[in-house]
């Protein structure tokens, strides 16, 4: 099906409850529906049309039309479409039907707009505070336009503590984080442990919620946001950088020059290289295998050096501006990059050969952190986690951007469903990245690296962009706005979805496996930039009936 057919299908079923549809180029379309049929449309899209849930967005549009906008974004991976299902919400007592019983994956996203914008998801299965810090007073919503970005509300109470659920009987709570050697970032897991077995957990994360979206909507300008976006996550910064730039370009139809697209692709793949090498190293470190950790970092270091040579910094490349890139890859750099990835390929192949057969490592990773296809669908898991479960989703192929439609590569899939599978997927994706970089270096076209933008950026346009980060699809949603800055900029990092699958993955696993399972999604809590509690008491996932979901798949 294409966009038109989907819209026709929906119109047939819902008639004029579908208020408005927009089909944009780049295979994106927007549907505005009546708020009372939002849930049903979601059900059709998610269950009948088998779309993948991306994220939910709340927008404060009161100063324009007196209400809020709620959008649920979906992706039709097999038809290469991105869809945003939107509904207008009343401005005085904003509430919207919760879709968590149909789409469990929307749990956090809905709680997030509940926290930040005060739009109440009616019927949410676990409406607990997610993003804001413990001491934040109720009824203050920082993402509303009337909230000054730099103020601390009256009634902020530093000593207020979070109300956790009670531990299941017979279990002891093992606090895990925010400062824990496995977690490089602050997030708190309250593990319910019986002896050594993790029986469940409650997550209180979003401690790295810095309010980047608010910053982008109220302070920074279009061309400053890339620098902030890059710092959403220090490892996959370039992904956010590119995703943001593409979202804005998508909204207003700016075409970056081809050379800049190749450069973006190269830098994204370089980042994937260093991120995957880093992850393999960290996974080894967590399982106590420090030597491989050291060697992964040794092999990775030249990537950092060449990135530094190209962009001027090892990690934060500060690559994109709207309509282009800032750093060019000259002929010498091109040569040097070829050498670096050539060497990397040889040494990595040795490591992969050794590790593949390492039964010691397999013992620690096989059967750990199981995420099967059902969980992938229900929690909308992404990236290597999904691919290790045999679900071949990859935004680079499904929603091509930059120069990815001009290069050839394979989507690495494994069906181990466990940490070992994710290890394998990541190890082999390194070779795919090398392949892509080689092709790009060869095909790179001469020309400008920055499009000339002559007009102002128009107001009120929607833009979506999905970029495949090393750890999964990273989604940016932009509504352009006045004052040279977007009206709404929503980031959905892959960890945001993947983390929601972790409680199921670690249930009934050993404490020692918990760290590995958690690490296997390559969590980047700063990526989520917001927070929430999850608790999985039962691990069985059944699809279909919402009732069953409520009882079986308890997203408390």
């Amino acid at each position: 099906m294409n966009e038109g057919e989907i819209i026709k299908y929906l119109r047939n079923r819902f008639g004029n409850k579908i208020r408005r549809t927009d089909i944009c180029r780049d295979r994106r379309f927007y549907i505005n529906v009546d708020s009372d049929c939002l849930k049903d449309v979601c059900k059709v899209i998610f269950r009948d049309l088998d779309a993948r849930f991306i994220t939910s967005i709340g927008v404060d549009e009161r100063q324009y039309n007196g209400g809020f906008l709620v959008a649920h974004n979906f992706a039709f991976d097999s038809w290469k479409l991105l869809c945003s299902l939107q509904t207008n919400v009343d401005g005085d007592s904003p509430s919207v039907q919760s879709i968590t019983d149909i789409v469990p994956a929307s749990n956090w996203a809905e709680r997030e707009f509940r926290d930040l914008l005060g739009i109440e998801p009616v019927g949410h299965i676990y409406p607990k505070r997610l993003v804001l810090p413990d001491g934040w007073p109720d009824g203050v919503y920082p993402l509303r336009k009337d909230f000054p970005y730099d103020s601390v509300p009256e009634g902020f109470d530093e000593n207020r503590s979070f109300k956790f659920d009670d531990a299941p009987p017979g279990c002891v709570v093992v606090p895990f984080g925010p400062f824990h050697p496995t977690l490089d970032e602050p997030a708190h897991f309250r593990l319910y442990v019986e002896g050594e077995m993790v029986r469940g957990c409650e997550y209180r994360g979003f401690m790295a919620h810095r309010g980047i979206e608010k910053l982008g909507e109220s302070v920074l300008t279009y061309n400053e946001i890339p620098m902030a976006a890059e710092r959403i996550c220090g490892i996959c910064g370039c992904v956010h950088n590119v995703a943001y730039a593409q979202a804005v370009e998508n909204a207003v139809g700016i075409m970056p020059p081809p050379r800049s697209e190749y450069i973006r692709t190269i830098m994204l793949e370089l980042e994937r290289l260093h991120s995957h090498l880093l992850w393999v190293g960290l996974a080894c470190h967590i399982s106590g295998f420090d030597t491989l950790f050291m060697h992964c970092f040794r092999i990775r270091e030249p990537v950092m050096w060449i990135a530094e040579k190209i962009s001027g910094n090892r990690k934060t490349y500060a690559l994109c501006l709207i309509g282009g890139v800032r750093w060019d890859i000259t002929e010498e750099l091109n040569q040097e990059l070829r050498e670096v990835i050539g060497k990397l390929e040889t040494s990595w192949r040795e490591v992969v050969k050794a590790v593949e057969k390492d039964s010691n490592l397999q013992k620690r990773t096989r059967g750990v952190g199981i995420a099967d296809k059902k969980l992938v669908k229900e929690s909308a898991l992404l990236g290597p986690v999904a691919r290790a479960a045999g679900v071949p989703i990859d935004s680079r192929r499904d929603h091509p951007y930059a120069a990815y439609n001009r290069v050839e590569f394979d989507v690495v899939v494994s069906d181990f469903c466990d940490v070992w599978g994710r290890l394998i997927v990541r190890m082999y994706e390194v070779f795919e990245s090398i392949k892509i970089i080689r092709q790009c270096l060869q095909k790179i076209e001469p020309g400008s690296i920055q499009a000339t933008i002559t007009d102002e950026i128009p107001v009120g346009r929607f833009g979506m962009s999905s970029v495949e980060a090393p750890r999964g699809e990273c989604h940016h949603f932009v509504i352009t706005g006045e004052n040279n800055r977007p009206r709404r900029w929503r980031v959905r990092a892959p960890t945001y979805q993947n983390l929601q699958g972790v409680p199921t993955m670690i249930k009934d696993q050993q404490l020692a496996d918990m760290t590995l399972a958690l690490a296997s999604i390559d969590p980047c809590f700063s990526c989520t930039d917001r927070l929430e509690t999850v608790d999985i008491k039962t691990g069985k996932v059944r699809v279909y009936s919402a009732k069953e979901l409520e009882t079986l798949f308890l997203w408390r």
Partner: protein, 174 residues
Amino acid sequence: MSFISKIRETLICLKAGRVTLPYPYQPRPAPEKFRGRPIFDASKCIGCAGCANNCPAREILVLDICQEIRILKYLGRRCTYCGRCADVCPENAITMSKDYETATNNIADIQQKLELFMSTCQRCGRCFKEPSPLEQLKLKGYRFDDLANERWIFKSKSYLDNFKVSDDIHIELD
């Protein structure tokens, strides 16, 4: 066979040899394009505040202490080293140096203060703003224009009074 793969791994280890760099004992220069500490050249600066306007971290502070004297202060402490200031500077007064050895025990050490002499517009009496082709984005909404957002530049004085960390923009009128 685990044993063989262990031997393989050991071989990888030994093959690599010792790679540790002798860094602190021998200097290790940064590459050409490296974006290190921005260096402000007072002799070139025209005080357009383009850098302040484009700094994502909003850490280049501008304060007009009197009509003729504009103080431009680079704090350094929250600099993201993105190099946008150098990009937009019409006079190339800012260069991203290759200096990264900026560790210090006093954060005030990395700040730079420029006292600029501004010519005065005959008509309104305010500082003369150089109309510069800051970038290709021809958009309105520079912070400087939008009164509500002028704070980065002109809120400075109150900012300085309220802020607990006094060295943020402690401007001495010497």
